[in-house]
Amino acid sequence: MEVKVLFFGVLAEVSGTYFKHYREVKLLSDLKHRISDDFPEIVHYSFRISVNNEITDNDILLKSGDEIALMPPFSGG
């Protein structure tokens, strides 16, 4: 199984990428750990997480094809 992680706003700059695929990851909490292992600087930024376009604070069981986005505070307008 594989999920896709998107980096937005300043996080794309900090991580140096717009997206990255992760394989064999069960829970959202596991995924978060793997992301911060790969990109340790992002912990200094505040952001929310969406799974398939829904913002969530809960730990979630991930399934193949899920799209997870790391979103700093919105600043549109």
Partner: protein
Amino acid sequence: MEIRYLTEGPVSAKIISDFVEKSARKTDLGGHSIFLGQVRADETDGKKVRAIEYSAYAEMVDIEAEKIKKFILSEFSDVNAVDIVHSTGIVRAGEISLLVFVSAGHRHQAMQACTRAVELIKENLPVWKKEIFEDDSHHWK
């Protein structure tokens, strides 16, 4: 006119006038309230903003903008139409980056609903701005 919610570059005068002309054909409408957000040449530490580069989570923008539209239409019974256009990419100082166009039978609801829609857009649209200064350095907002 096939813009949904995002447009590449500034919201052009053409886009704005197309919306005006489109709305002006419906004879049950009494008022349109329009908000245009424009990029300001703000100064930070003596450096002037020359442009903003907007990035967006396009798929989620569509979902959230659709929710805002539905919310406004259900909350304001006199409102007939809500249109939203936000820029992605580079918008220079003095150019328009956001259009909100609300049409209603009467003026009060048109204006209240437009104000509300703008607030909801600011809170809920997954869009990010990067200020680009005259010396090409930048700052994330």
